[in-house]
């Protein structure tokens, strides 16, 4: 019995229990964000699927419905470039983080600025479209437009707010690498899903 206890003690010395950090294959923050993004992808997939079915059920000359304003393809195309540039700046910020948290602040601020410009220009576009008579109640075309683009805008605004707080913590050196990775992943999701929505809704 005593020999068995001794053997166990020896084994613990040879194979020490892994630390918490060693056991974490995927950091909690990143795993949580991956699951959240997965759910959000399915939300947008459901919205786009409903849109595709309704659109396919309409006669070709009835989509967009006669009398309803056309969506500003070129203007939103430019806005899409702003959002993609914002994603690029965030990616650069992630690379700079390895050199030091303070080095990541300028690209992240640039990313925030470009993202805010995207949201502001979307708001301007919405104001124009509402003025021209496209509303949630005007037609299924308007309903789907505001629902899909609005859902994305809510995500963009929420991400910008969270990233603003994160930038303050980044400047103070309080943001952990894992938290920064998770937040960047969410912003990449907001950025990368937009071209798909643009293609489906605008083109």
């Amino acid at each position: 019995m005593a020999g068995t206890m001794s053997e166990k003690r020896d084994l613990r010395l040879i194979h020490p229990a892994p630390t918490r950090e060693q056991r974490q294959i995927v950091p909690n923050e990143v795993l949580g964000m991956i699951l959240f993004i997965g759910a959000e992808v399915m939300l947008f997939a459901g919205l786009i699927s409903a849109y595709a079915v309704v659109r396919a059920g309409m006669p070709a000359d009835a989509w967009p419905p006669p009398g309803q304003p056309r969506l500003p393809i070129a203007f939103t195309g430019f806005n899409t470039l702003l959002l993609l540039a914002s994603g690029g700046a965030m990616w650069f910020g992630g690379r700079k983080f390895a050199e030091g948290a303070d080095k990541a602040v300028p690209p992240v601020l640039a990313s925030l600025g470009l993202g805010a410009a995207f949201v502001a220009l979307q708001g301007y576009e919405w104001a124009n479209l509402l003025g021209e008579g496209l509303s949630m109640q005007s037609s299924p075309y308007g309903s789907f437009f505001y629902l899909i683009v609005g859902t994305h805008a809510v995500h963009a605004v929420a991400a910008l707010l969270v990233l603003s707080v994160a930038t303050l913590r980044l400047r103070a050196g309080e943001l952990t690498e894992h938290a920064f990775t998770a937040l960047r992943a969410f912003w990449y999701f907001v950025v990368l899903i937009w071209p798909f929505l643009y293609w489906q809704v605008y083109l």
Binding site: I25, G38, V41, G46, S49, A56, G57
Partner: protein, 74 residues
């Protein structure tokens, strides 16, 4: 018409006139493009979660391999 004939008549109508029946409450337009959209979105919504789960599994696999490679004494 006997009862047997009536049953046969209903069965025959069911076999020859399936296009009249619209079992799906939201299938309000049975056009070819609409049917294509239903099939396309069904395939899309079926494959997408599998792709995402597969991607996460691959990411975890790569992380495990990375951790094994960076372990001291590996």
């Amino acid at each position: 018409m006997s009862r047997v004939h009536a049953v046969w008549a209903v069965a025959l109508a069911g076999l020859t006139l399936p296009g009249v029946a619209e079992a799906c409450a939201v299938c309000f337009s049975a056009t070819e493009s609409n049917r294509g959209a239903f099939i396309g979105t069904t395939v899309f919504l079926t494959i997408l979660p599998l792709l995402m789960i597969g991607s996460v599994a691959f990411y975890v696999y790569r992380r495990v391999k990375e951790m094994e490679a960076t372990e001291p004494g590996a």
